[in-house]
């Protein structure tokens, strides 16, 4: 291999590396097994955001029923006034706690509503990522009939 082609290869490699580094900047909430299959809420967070240090904040508003008669369909709403980059919902006692991770590009409301399954009475935690930090709100939902199947 002469000098010229060595340089070419090196250029291609560095271009590919730059493309890889630039990837997360696309800011897409993509499914990942490591976060969603994690068995503990802390592991799920560290695999998702690379950190699991959280601060409880009353600026994170989590809306969920006190008592859910049917654990198969529990409405959960998360909203915040903070400048949020992403929102995640964790259901602590589920086999895999992380239920949802939403990515919010600039201009998108810091809000998400959905319906979740809960296997048993559990703490539900809303995690808001704002300015690189994680803020949470937690609420206990009592479940009469579990929704994980069986």
């Amino acid at each position: 291999m002469d000098r010229r082609s060595v340089l070419k290869v090196a250029g291609a490699v560095s271009a590919a590396a730059t493309a890889l580094v630039a990837m997360p900047r696309l800011a897409m909430a993509a499914y990942s097994d490591s976060a969603f299959k994690a068995k503990a809420a802390g592991d799920a967070l560290s695999n998702l955001y690379g950190a699991n240090a959280t601060t409880p904040s009353d600026q994170v508003r989590l809306k969920a029923p006190d008592i859910a008669e049917n654990g198969a369909v529990v409405p959960v709403e998360v909203e915040t006034d903070m400048d949020a980059e992403s929102i995640a919902i964790l259901i602590e006692k589920n086999p895999s706690p992380l239920a949802l991770n939403a990515d919010l590009p600039a201009g998108t409301q810091a809000m998400v509503k959905t319906r979740c399954r809960m296997g048993e009475t559990t703490n539900v935690t809303a995690v808001v990522k704002s300015g690189g930090k994680l803020y949470t709100a937690t609420k206990e939902v009592k479940v009469t009939i579990g929704g994980c199947g069986g």
């Binding site: 499914y31 259901i91 895999s96 939403a102 590009p105 809000m111 929704g147 199947g149 069986g150």
Partner: protein, 101 residues
């Protein structure tokens, strides 16, 4: 007939989106009558685009209820189109386009 129902309504510069996606969302924990496990089958990624730009994206776990409901909001205007699409763990995809009202 698409399996996604979506409504997008603009008010004061904010588009409110409500959507229902038809999907079994099998957890992989359920068993059928003869005791065999029903394999996992669930929506992993949901993406919303307006005017070719991603305005919202989410990843789901199996703990999202069957026939998932999803609501969110973004800055937009009437008449624009909103495209909502999902992809499940088998690689199947579905998408729908609607006009913002």
């Amino acid at each position: 007939m698409s399996g996604i129902r979506v409504k997008a309504k603009e008010r004061n510069g904010v588009v409110d989106v409500k959507s229902l996606m038809k999907h079994p969302m099998e957890t992989g924990l359920r068993k059928d009558k003869s005791g065999n496990k029903i394999p996992e089958h669930w929506i992993q990624d949901v993406t919303a685009e307006s005017n070719g730009q991603v305005v919202f994206s989410a990843a789901f776990n199996t703990s999202i209820s069957k026939d998932p409901y999803l609501a969110f909001g973004f800055a937009g205007k009437k008449g624009d189109t909103l495209k909502l699409s999902w992809k499940d763990n088998t690689g199947a995809t579905e998408s729908v386009e609607t006009k913002i009202r």
